[in-house]
């Protein structure tokens, strides 16, 4: 059980808009993914400009936009210098341009644009985010397919536990296209076939309470526990229940559970279980979580939430988050 790690801010970019949108009432804009629209067709350059983005994949731009919104909404950024701020992106790469680079390299090497080459590497999105925002902390990518989002949150949590002067931007972005569809077609089950693939980006800030002698805001989400473990053959709900019990809670004491097996996800509120109606590859669980907690609520109660992902290899990644004034 940890009481010093927090998600202090978050931001979302989806087909229906952004969150938080300071230009209008947040309560009217919380649903950014649930409508029929699949792609983000508004102009991202309104947020991140267009200069220098010629060789950027749309997934990079979605993640960058989310980070831009996040950083713009940090009300106390002076507790950091940009040297301290690190980035971890959960991603298998800027998939569309990755395929384009490879195709150019194979078919017409003389014509391959060298400026496009960084898209061949999986770390391109993190590099582009650090570059755009002048961040000199770590810039890294965790590649674990559907688990990438939750894994990147766990990665940042470990770093901030070890060095309490660090703070991490956890981000991700997924565009839709053939390259992504190929990756997601690897699913071991066809259960998620009817779930629509959509585009989205997310970002959040993970920090240690001790940074800048910061006072903890009760609306922030405490990263109470996390676990990554191979659980071949075990049902995800059993694994979640075991995780809750290991951390001192019965499942009845977990108010919300957002979980997925590969691309097929669910949100459980008490005994009410609903499917997550979209698939954002590695970003599904974190997006669903941020979207759900962005909805206005004023009951003032402690809320416990478990996020979990199980991949086709039986790798289970999970986080317990607690908010004391939801």
């Amino acid at each position: 059980m940890r009481d010093n790690l927090y998600i202090t801010k978050y931001a979302l970019v989806g087909p229906q808009g952004i969150w938080p949108d300071l230009s209008c009432e947040a309560s009217k804009k919380y649903t950014i993914t649930e409508a029929d629209k699949r792609s983000v067709d508004y102009d991202l350059s309104n947020f991140i400009g267009s200069k220098g983005l010629r060789f950027h994949d749309k997934s990079s731009k979605l993640a960058m936009t989310a980070v831009r919104i996040l950083l713009d909404n940090l009300d106390n950024i002076d507790r950091y210098t940009m040297e301290d701020l690190s980035v971890v992106v959960g991603s298998d790469g800027a998939l569309t341009l990755q395929y384009q680079v490879v195709a150019e390299a194979l078919n017409n090497p003389r014509m391959m644009n060298p400026r496009l080459y960084p898209n061949r590497g999986c770390n391109v999105i993190a590099g582009q985010i650090s570059l755009m925002f002048g961040l000199h902390g770590e810039s890294t990518v965790v590649s674990s397919g559907y688990n990438s989002g939750v894994d990147s949150l766990i990665y940042a949590s470990r770093k901030c536990l070890i060095n309490n002067t660090l703070s991490y931007v956890v981000a991700g972005g997924e565009s839709i296209g053939k390259a992504r569809h190929l990756r997601t077609s690897l699913r071991s089950s066809k259960d998620g076939d009817e779930v629509k693939e959509i585009e989205a980006g997310f970002a959040c800030l993970v920090e240690n309470q001790s940074i800048g002698n910061r006072t903890h805001n009760p609306k922030e989400w405490n990263i109470t526990a996390f676990l990554q473990r191979s659980i071949p053959g075990k049902h995800i709900e059993t694994a979640i229940s075991d995780f809750a019990v290991d951390n001192g809670f019965s499942m009845e004491e977990i108010h919300r559970c957002i979980y997925a097996v590969e691309g097929c996800g669910w949100i459980r509120n008490g005994s009410d279980i609903k499917p997550i109606p979209y698939d954002i590859y590695g970003g599904t669980i974190l997006t669903a979580f941020f979207e759900s907690v962005s909805k206005p609520s004023s009951n003032g109660q402690t809320m416990r939430c478990i996020l979990a992902n199980l991949d086709r290899h039986g790798m289970f990644s999970t986080v317990l988050l607690i908010n004391h004034q939801n």
Binding site: Y99, A103, A105, P109, P118, N123, S130, L186
Partner: protein, 399 residues
């Protein structure tokens, strides 16, 4: 701060099927560059036809075939590390994995399969392109069930993986972590390196005035790191400890390093801070030392800033001059060489060195290995995207 030991290490290179033979050949200054037999470099666009390749003879079919060459290399390196570590129990949830191995050629096979509409090849290649492929293979062979992570940080991936394993032990999640990575050089990397003239038409001459680029090479390096308490409990006495690491980002350009070496300097300084040692305790640096004009100059400058005038007499060598640049496995391999240096008190040379460069006035251990006591050393790695990682190792008895 944790007390984390290197219980074992292993490497596979074109110079040898294990770290001992490879290192022996490195000490002799042998290079491994030969006409590529795996890749089609017949087009005259490819001005450099040589790669430091590991031949197919090394393939061990317990671990896979040519479709997952990088994973096989990683497993072979792990086998060596496992034996050196005293064959610890690697099964169960207290064993973590942090690696950088990817089957990059699978993406090329996917593109080819789509072009010729070969669904069978497409499905097979998609399987290997899964970023979790190597991790899953390691789990299957060891029974490890703890946290696992695949780090993608270009040429600094290996050191990032070592750092991630350190974190898993430090947070108390695991007792042992398998860290490092393997790489089989792939066609699109060779094209890319030719397009931005990162590869030399001559050979790799790090820190030489006439250096003209790097050479590419296959390889894998794996470390088994372990908490001191756990090693002690099972009666293993590691000789080396992992003191700390430093990571940073240039935030300057996706390809070119920061013009003042800012990110390189930050990574080195942060590693010294985490290791809680002063710069004068470092007695050897395995440089990133790609042999490109810009990298070597900036690495020299940033080392100067971190180490002061001591940098002129500090041995700093680049093993890439002999086995090439193994991309996302490079720093994992170089971490193994750092361990070998500590174990053998022998520093591998920078091969192919001919002409001193005033912009790189370091002691690059030119062409001849050096026998000297090294108690503490540093491994530098800097990658595309401006990502940098430095790791520090020390002999256990040198505390």
């Amino acid at each position: 701060m944790a007390n984390i030991k290197i219980s074992g290490y292993g490497a596979v290179t074109p110079l040898g099927a294990n770290s001992k033979i490879s290192f022996k050949n490195l000490l002799m200054g042998k290079d491994a560059f030969k006409q590529s037999t795996f890749l089609d470099l017949s087009d005259d666009f490819f001005y450099q036809k040589k790669i430091a390749e590991i031949s197919e003879h090394i393939l061990d079919h317990r671990f896979g075939d040519h479709n997952c060459f990088a994973t096989v290399l990683t497993m072979l390196a792990l086998n060596e590390a496992y034996e050196m570590a005293g064959s610890p129990n690697l099964s169960g949830s207290r064993v973590g994995i942090a690696i950088s191995t990817l089957e990059s050629q699978a993406l090329e096979n996917i593109v080819k399969a789509m072009e010729i509409k070969d669904d069978q090849q497409l499905n097979r290649s998609l399987h290997y392109a899964d970023s979790q492929y190597c991790v899953t293979t390691i789990r299957r062979h060891t029974g490890a069930q703890g946290p696992s992570i695949v780090l993608s940080n270009a040429c600094a991936s290996g050191n990032h993986a070592i750092a991630a394993g350190y974190d898993m032990i430090e947070t108390g999640e695991v007792d042992i972590a398998i860290v490092g990575g393997g790489c089989k050089i792939f066609q699109s990397a060779v094209v890319g390196f030719h397009q931005f003239t990162g590869v030399s038409g001559d050979t790799c001459r790090p820190f030489d005035r006439n250096r003209s680029g790097t050479m590419l090479g296959d390889g894998a390096g794996i470390l088994i790191i372990e908490s001191a308490d756990h090693a002690k409990k099972r009666g293993h006495c590691p000789r080396i400890e992992l003191l700390g690491y430093g990571v940073s980002c240039d935030s300057y350009d996706m390809m070119a390093p920061h013009p003042e070496g800012l990110g390189m300097e930050l990574a080195m300084r942060r590693s010294l801070t985490m290791a809680n040692i002063s710069s004068n305790q470092i007695q050897y640096i395995n440089a990133h030392g790609t042999g490109t004009t810009v990298n070597d100059k900036l690495e020299s400058i940033s080392i100067h800033r971190v180490f002061g005038e001591q940098y002129l007499s500090l041995p700093i060598s680049s093993t890439k001059s002999m086995i090439g640049h193994a991309l996302y496995a490079a720093s994992a391999l170089e971490a193994v060489w750092c361990c070998r240096v500590l174990d053998e008190n022998m520093i591998p040379p920078t091969a192919n060195f001919q002409t001193k460069d005033d912009e790189c006035p370091i002691d690059c251990v030119p062409n001849q290995a050096r026998h000297t006591t090294v108690d503490c050393c540093m491994n530098n790695s800097f990658g595309f995207g401006g990502t940098n990682a430095t790791v520090i190792f020390r002999k256990c008895h040198a505390r």
